[in-house]
């Protein structure tokens, strides 16, 4: 059916112009933007890091001198089973001047008992139990209300943290006083568990992590992962905490940006998380994430595109880049598929294979060339190599389809308001006033 010689002959036969015409999507979006630009930015980031060496040392000295109180907040429902492991791992942190506040958001398991016991024994500074669930935002806000620290670090109970994670996530605040929030680097702990988790590990490792280094360096970094983020307390007070989710991780950073603060990514502040281990669970998670892009970027914060008095060029670009990457790119891909089907239908077989080949090659290129820029491995270098070709299907088809479904559901049906992730009472109110 498929003949390799025929394929090579075909490639040789078409000229450069024709090749671009056929593989424009790959050349423009994939290679130029996500290999070439990223690589250039990464080099520039390294150079800057080199020249900022003294500044980093000063920042570290300043932080050590000041020894600020860090308020670690852990909101969540039914997280009791993870709490003891979490407090034990926090005791291992190199930075120890922190208070730990846990909010139990209406758990229906033995979380209250566990939390209260840990509080009684001094492992948790404050344990607050909400007998009725209010949703992640309200739980985080409740915790925030009782923080005493200069910085607030938001953690997930089921994640684990490198020994120097807290120290490293606070450090950027001392590098630049315009920094209002810092995102930690989330890596996949259970990457060996199943094919799904392995593919996600590569995604976190290659796209998310590297992507965030790049966007942070460009000043357009936009999502602080809910599993690990640090905020200046005074900034949080100004923006009055989290608004209701889903997608509050992205929402809070927009709010921080809007009042004129920078957001930084701290690649060397590492947190390990367990990702969904089946495609079904992963789909559910991604549908929620993708819906929130529409709900928060397009709907709630659309004013970023309007030239109002708070207009910021960086915010504009950050949004533009975000929307381009997520929405426009998604639409463009369908345009490309249609373009190919209509204009090159006879060669579609070759084009399909060639695309896979090109993407795979670029994946290997990225994997190898970006290697020196990664702060830390969570798996042996060779472990992911055999899986890289599969990433084409994971990224190019699976995630794209999920994303499309999410966008349609949210844009036309406002599906996120029905998400059980939030209590109905809060979703109803949010929908009523259109946020």
């Amino acid at each position: 059916m498929f003949d390799l010689d025929e394929f090579i002959a075909y490639i040789q036969a078409v000229g450069a112009a024709k090749l671009f015409r056929i593989f424009w999507f790959f050349v423009v979006f994939e290679f130029f933007r996500y290999v070439f630009i990223d690589f250039v930015v990464l080099i520039s980031w390294r150079v800057k890091q080199y020249y900022d060496k003294d500044k980093l040392n000063d920042a570290r000295a300043q932080m050590e001198f000041e020894n600020p109180l860090v308020s670690i907040i852990v909101p969540g429902k039914n997280e009791g089973k993870h709490l003891f492991k979490l407090v034990k791992s926090l005791r291992e942190q190199t930075y120890q001047n922190f208070e730990l506040i846990v909010v139990d958001d209406g758990s229906d398991d033995d979380t209250p008992t566990i939390g209260k016991t840990l509080e009684k024994n001094g492992f948790i500074d404050l344990f607050i139990r909400n007998s009725v669930r209010g949703g992640k935002a309200s739980a985080a806000n409740l915790a925030l209300r009782f923080t005493k620290g200069k910085f607030v670090v938001h953690l997930d109970a089921d994640c684990s943290y490198d020994r120097d994670a807290i120290e490293k996530i606070i450090l950027p605040f001392y590098m630049d006083e315009k920094v209002g929030a810092v995102g930690g680097n989330v890596m996949v702990r259970n990457y060996r568990e199943s094919l799904v988790t392995t593919l996600q590990a590569i995604e976190y490792y290659d796209t998310i992590s590297i992507g965030r280094i790049v966007s942070s360096h460009l000043g357009i970094y936009r999502i602080i992962s809910g599993a690990f983020g640090a905020f200046r307390k005074d900034v949080m007070d100004k923006i009055e905490g989290w608004d209701i989710g889903p997608g509050l991780d992205g929402d809070i950073t927009v709010k921080v940006r809007k009042i004129g603060y920078d957001i930084k990514f701290a690649p060397d502040s590492v947190c390990l998380t367990s990702v969904p281990n089946t495609f079904k669970k992963l789909s559910r998670q991604r549908l929620r994430w993708d819906k929130s892009i529409i709900r928060f970027r397009v709907r709630k914060h659309s004013d970023v595109f309007k030239p109002t008095q708070n207009f910021s060029l960086l915010n504009f670009f950050s949004f533009l880049e975000n929307i381009t990457y997520n929405i426009i790119l998604n639409i463009k891909w369908y345009v490309y598929v249609i373009d190919m089907l209509f204009n090159f239908v006879s060669q579609i077989k070759f084009i399909f294979v060639a695309n896979i080949f090109l993407y795979t090659a670029s994946n290997y290129l990225k994997y190898i060339f970006f290697y020196p820029f990664r702060p830390r491995q969570n798996a042996p270098f060779a472990y992911f190599l055999p899986y890289l070709p599969l990433m084409v299907f994971y990224f190019g088809y699976y995630l794209r389809i999920v994303r499309t479904i999410a966008y349609i559901k949210e844009y036309f049906f406002k599906a996120s308001y029905k998400d059980p992730w939030n209590p109905i009472k809060t979703s109803n109110k949010a929908k009523e006033i259109g946020i």
Binding site: N130, E240, G241
Partner: protein, 477 residues
């Protein structure tokens, strides 16, 4: 009954006689030794204050000697009322001494029943108290021993005739004794109430406070936490309040909160400690002991059931035939003889002296604070205390001399064929040794030892000589 209730009472200096019964009139602040009361059939306490009366009645009723604690007691009342538990310890009140003819039938009945009872001779304090309680109940035809709330009781409840034997601080032992009595089948319990006692001193006068789990301070304030759905703001209600009106406005989105459950709710309550600033949701309930000031965690408190008791048929039989405990009695202590044996031997000695003009002595050692002491230590320790005492006495007297227990706090011994003076020296030395020994063996227990020694008089009976040697040990009331 041939008694003539209308006959006129006969007045003496400090007594009144009616119908063959002699009533001792105990005047205000007039101290009298219990032993002097033995000649009377009943006591009338004249008092100006309830407190003084309570004190005197208690002194009579807590004595271990049957001759005293069963004696009918009446109160000549002034214009004050007695607490109910004191009323339970007396046999009636009169309002003038002329009314003595009204109570004579009561005295008569009590004496009839007193003649029926047998007091137990067991050494164990628990057994003695059970026996005391049963005989008193029988003597007064009481079937019930009920718990009464009582502010001055160490455990908050008093069983008057039993509790009178204890200082408030030791009153928790009343519950132990009742438990034993129930196990022995002489009392039948019925649930009445439940109480909690201090883990340190076992008293029940506790001040419960809701405390900060961190520092234990009771100085705190509570606030509702409000969650505003629309903006996700969560905070104490004070964040939403203003000084002008009663409206609640969200500090984050300025919207007015209108309807609980629709636009806001109250997911929790938070308390703030003013002492250490700690914020918390669950108070630590602590119980401070008013007696010893120990601040108990409520989980530490000793929970006890308080019951009311009914005397069983077996209890009644025990009052009549003497109560013998199967579980708590202290068996014969090595080196002693039974009281009856001692009596017989004394009789022979008196006879021998009459014929040989010898010089022999009868001698008694008495633990003056035995009630207080035993109520504190329990029967196991009481037994080893008595053992130690006997052992020491035995080592310091001749092997031909005899030792016996007159009661649980009094030892009788013979010192034959030695002059009184020598005997006195020996006995005083023994007592000093006993005090020292008990102090070291029992953790600084204050033991108050009295002794008495008398030369045997061949003109007097053995029983009378025994009474004479122990007579001085009775307290004043």
């Amino acid at each position: 009954m041939s008694k003539d209730l209308t006959s006129k009472p006969l007045f003496g200096e400090n007594f009144v006689e009616h119908d063959g019964y002699r009533y001792y009139i105990m005047k205000d602040h007039d101290m009298v030794n219990l032993s002097e009361l033995i000649a009377y059939d009943a006591i009338i306490i004249e008092g100006t204050s309830a407190k003084l009366i309570e004190e005197r009645v208690s002194n009579i009723r807590k004595n271990l000697n049957q001759a005293f604690f069963l004696i009918p007691v009446f109160v000549l009342k002034g214009n004050f009322s007695l607490p109910i538990y004191v009323e339970e310890l007396i046999d009636g009140s009169i309002f003038s001494i002329d009314q003595v003819n009204l109570v004579t039938p009561i005295v008569h009945k009590i004496h009839l029943r007193n003649n029926e009872v047998t007091i137990n001779t067991a050494l164990s304090y628990e057994a003695q108290l059970i026996s005391k309680t049963l005989t008193y109940m029988y003597s007064r035809e009481l079937n019930q021993l009920n718990a009464q709330l009582h502010p001055n009781s160490g455990i908050g409840f008093t069983f008057p005739i039993l509790s009178v034997n204890f200082e408030p601080k030791e009153e928790f032992r009343v519950l132990e004794i009742l438990e034993i009595a129930e196990k022995e089948g002489v009392l039948i319990s019925e649930f009445h109430d439940r109480t909690h006692l201090c883990s340190q001193c076992h008293t029940g006068f506790l001040a419960y406070r809701e405390c900060c789990p961190k520092c234990g301070s009771a100085n705190s304030e509570s606030q509702d936490i409000i969650h505003h759905f629309v903006c996700g703001f969560v905070g104490p209600i004070s964040d939403f309040q203003n000084e002008i009106d009663d409206q609640l406005n969200c500090p984050k989105c300025t919207r007015t909160l209108r309807h609980i459950g629709v636009d806001y709710d109250k997911p929790s309550v938070l308390h703030e400690c003013f002492n250490c600033g700690h914020k918390f949701q669950d108070f630590n309930v602590r119980a401070k002991c008013v007696t010893c000031t120990f601040d108990n965690d409520v989980q530490q408190l000793i929970g006890r059931e308080i019951s009311n008791y009914t005397m069983s048929k077996k209890g009644e039989m025990a009052a009549i035939n003497g109560f013998t405990s199967t579980s708590k009695d202290i068996e014969d202590i090595i080196g002693t003889v039974k009281l009856d044996t001692y009596r017989t031997m004394l009789k022979y000695e008196i006879e021998r002296i009459r014929q040989t003009d010898g010089k022999s002595n009868i001698c008694a050692i008495h633990i003056a604070n035995s009630g207080q002491l035993y109520s504190k230590i329990g029967s196991d320790m009481q037994k080893s205390l008595l053992k130690d005492m006997v052992e020491l006495v035995r080592r310091n007297i001749r092997s031909s001399d005899m030792i016996t227990f007159y009661d649980s706090s009094t030892i009788l011994l013979s010192m034959n064929d030695i002059p009184l003076k020598v005997g006195q020296n020996i006995i005083s030395e023994i007592c000093a040794l006993i005090e020292k020994l008990l102090k070291t063996n029992f953790n600084d227990l204050e033991v108050d030892i009295n002794y008495n020694i008398k030369r045997i008089n061949f003109k007097l009976s053995n029983e009378l000589q025994i009474q004479q040697v122990i007579k001085d040990f009775y307290p004043d009331v």
